[in-house]
Symmetry: C2
Subunit: 268 residues, 2 copies
């Protein structure tokens, strides 16, 4: 039996053995539970001299870094930006150039709606060494919580991740043709835009009766699972009791979920 500490030591040795100047580890913090971090992400945090994190990352994940590590909150909350992307880019470059191991901690996976592209570009332009450490993205955690598959043989040949907020105001971009042939859609940041998401799903060919699973706080202890249909999306947006992030999973593969989510919930 390989011991857990051996595994952690082996992962940590990755960065300690690299000589020379600082580097940036772009780390996926996963959906929020500390035990949904990868071992490699935990090792990165424990090797950190500096942790640069968003406010979506819970405190008990940031707490995995050593006490001596400097913590910098560049918190982006909905509707508020305490640091611009350009400021974050400049910060991680300058910290790495000072010879430090910089952990840039992002909710979920850095490559999925995490703006890691901008940071990679800045690091590459500056000649700063970096590594991306993947994380569990919210849609994957939501499906696990609900006990449903994202792809399903003979039913859902694909899964597509899309954000309800879209990018830079052109938020309808990416939606056309998405719902064809039974594929599952995983809609990030879907809570606030239920009616809009419903209309887009219908426009792309989904039926109002297509099954939907909405998961609030996916991957966390306090997650809630709501099973319904595309027609129900506006009423989910109107619920004042949902204040955590919501991922919406839509498509025929979710049809297996309504009874199973319940049996799963009561079994757990």
């Amino acid at each position: 039996m390989l011991s857990f500490l051996e595994l952690l030591d082996r992962a940590t040795a990755r960065w300690r053995k690299v000589p020379g100047p600082g580097r940036v580890l772009l780390v996926g913090a996963g959906p929020g539970s500390p035990d949904l971090l990868t071992v490699r992400a935990v090792a990165a945090l424990q090797a950190a001299d500096v942790v640069v994190h968003d406010q979506l990352v819970p405190g008990d994940i940031v707490a995995l870094a050593p006490a001596r590590a400097r913590r910098i909150d560049v918190g982006k909350r909905k509707g508020r930006h305490s640091a611009t992307q350009a400021e974050i880019n400049a910060l991680i470059v300058s910290q790495a150039r000072a010879g430090r191991i910089v952990v840039r901690l992002k909710a979920g996976d850095p490559g999925v709606f995490g703006r890691v592209g901008e940071e990679i570009a800045a690091l590459t332009d500056a000649g700063v060494a970096f590594e991306v450490i993947p994380g569990i993205t919210a849609a994957v955690a939501a499906a696990a919580d609900a006990g449903v598959p994202l792809t399903l043989r003979g039913v859902a040949p694909t899964v597509t991740f899309i954000s309800a907020h879209g990018a830079d105001g052109s938020s309808a971009r990416g939606w056309s043709g998405l719902a064809s042939e039974g594929g599952t859609l995983a809609i990030y940041m879907g809570k606030s835009a239920g009616a809009l998401v419903r209309d887009r799903l219908v426009a792309t060919g989904m039926d109002l009766a297509t099954p939907v699973i909405a998961v609030e706080n996916a991957g966390r202890e306090q997650r809630r699972i709501i099973a319904g249909h595309v027609a129900d999306l506006p009423s989910i947006s109107e619920r004042s009791d949902l204040d955590g992030p919501v991922v919406i999973l839509a498509g025929p593969a979710m049809a297996v979920a309504e009874p199973r989510a319940l049996s799963h919930q009561t079994a757990a």
Copy 2:
């Protein structure tokens, strides 16, 4: 600072505190490196009485289970099935009914091309309690390895996962309309079907010059990253030196990757 062992103990307590009959933990083993398991997945393995695993899962991950745990290889290799899906379903149900903690270990994430839907259906029908523990899926690991984002603001509003093998022979299903509007496509099991994948990408609207990153053995020490274009996919299939699993990432967001993948490689 939260200690790593406290984190592991907390995760392990999840299953030990549940009284009564056995259960099945459907666990994502991630792309192959033990340190890309989540802490929760390691805790599940360490709590296992029985581990039922595919042959794609490396031995040093299975080795995280205690020595007393029974290991059952239901290996599915390409072109060979040593156990049918129905046999696997019956096995995990009967082992759980015997009061055991059964870890069903699947490469990547159970919900993404992992056939977890069939196993969830069997467990639900049998009234066996289960829990899905998510894992890092190959496309996410491949993007991290290559240092590229899967979505990119203003360029790639979506990412879609699809298998080059398709399901049940109807393997063209799911491809229509996929490449619209700059979204990234992540093609699993893409190595053997390069010319077919090229033709499908072109049919769905991609240009032959669209950038592509192919990653062999994503998430493992020996991973290899090949940057090219849609037109190059047949030649990747013809390479006899690629014998590990290959994920193909295609779309304009990969354009940032060619120089960066190289600088990342030399920096690591």
